[in-house]
């Protein structure tokens, strides 16, 4: 599990890597939330390109970040989702909350 944060102007990009499950979600969530709190972006991009596994804990992570961003009106984009993760995000209807792009 890894999270790398990149800040460019008003955009925060979180590059997620490794396995995203209930065990690893907490650490990822904390890293993303502290970057958002510090930088107050207008756009948060979650990049799933290097995520090798994700269960519904990942959906919880996306939904939770979406709820937090509602408070400031910032947008959420999801990029680079590998096929299996894209399938999971579609199952949860995430495209109704965020712009969703597969790898």
């Amino acid at each position: 599990m890894s999270v790398q944060i990149n800040v460019t102007g008003e955009v925060v990009t979180a590059y997620l890597g490794g396995e995203l499950d209930h065990h690893t979600a907490k650490e990822m969530r904390e890293a993303i939330d502290s970057a958002v709190e510090l930088n107050m972006p207008t756009l948060l991009i979650l990049d799933f390109k290097d995520v090798t596994f994700m269960d519904s804990s990942g959906i919880g992570l996306v939904m939770g970040r979406y709820r937090n961003l509602l408070k400031t009106g910032a947008e959420l984009h999801i990029m680079g989702a590998p096929p299996q993760i894209y399938k999971m995000l579609k199952l949860a209807g995430i495209e109704r909350l965020a712009k969703l792009e597969s790898r």
Partner: protein, 148 residues
């Protein structure tokens, strides 16, 4: 239907064992020659069921045990039983509703929806105060040989 192979695994309900449990089952399931997508479906469903044991059955407080049994069957299917001795589910129908969660917060309430979507069948039996058993099956599609 004949059982051709079987393994059992008992694990403490620690979140660090979520990845271990799904890795074990996926290694076992490779004997059926599944596609990457089929393996990923099985791993995801197992991860949901094991996480439910930790988060719901034992409420992340009691270090209970998770009992996993997997069977390979001669119709090229895998059957997986995941059992806990936790609090049990009072209303199974409600628990299986997509987006329903009893704990809120960062849980999406999609665990059962994912299991049902990624496996061919999911059965839940539960007794309040005794525990829950999830039984899931998935048939692995036969591969067509390139040599005919």
């Amino acid at each position: 239907m004949q059982i051709t192979n079987k393994f059992t695994l008992t694990l403490p309900a620690r979140s660090s064992n979520e990845s271990f449990a799904r890795a074990c089952i996926s290694a076992f399931a490779t004997q059926l020659d599944p596609t990457i997508e089929e393996i990923s479906d099985i791993k995801t469903a197992v991860s949901e069921a094991v996480t439910n044991c930790i988060v719901h059955a034992y409420k992340e407080q009691v270090l209970g045990k998770i009992y996993i049994t997997a069977f390979l069957q001669d119709n090229n299917s895998i059957k997986i039983k995941i059992r806990d001795k936790g609090c049990g589910i009072a209303n199974i129908e409600q628990a299986m509703e997509p987006l329903y969660t009893s704990v809120g917060g960062e849980r999406a309430g999609l665990g059962f929806a994912v299991m049902e979507s990624f496996m061919d069948s999911v059965k839940v039996s539960s007794v309040v105060g005794k525990g829950t058993t999830i039984t899931m099956t998935k048939k692995i599609s036969p591969r067509i040989s390139v040599n005919g």
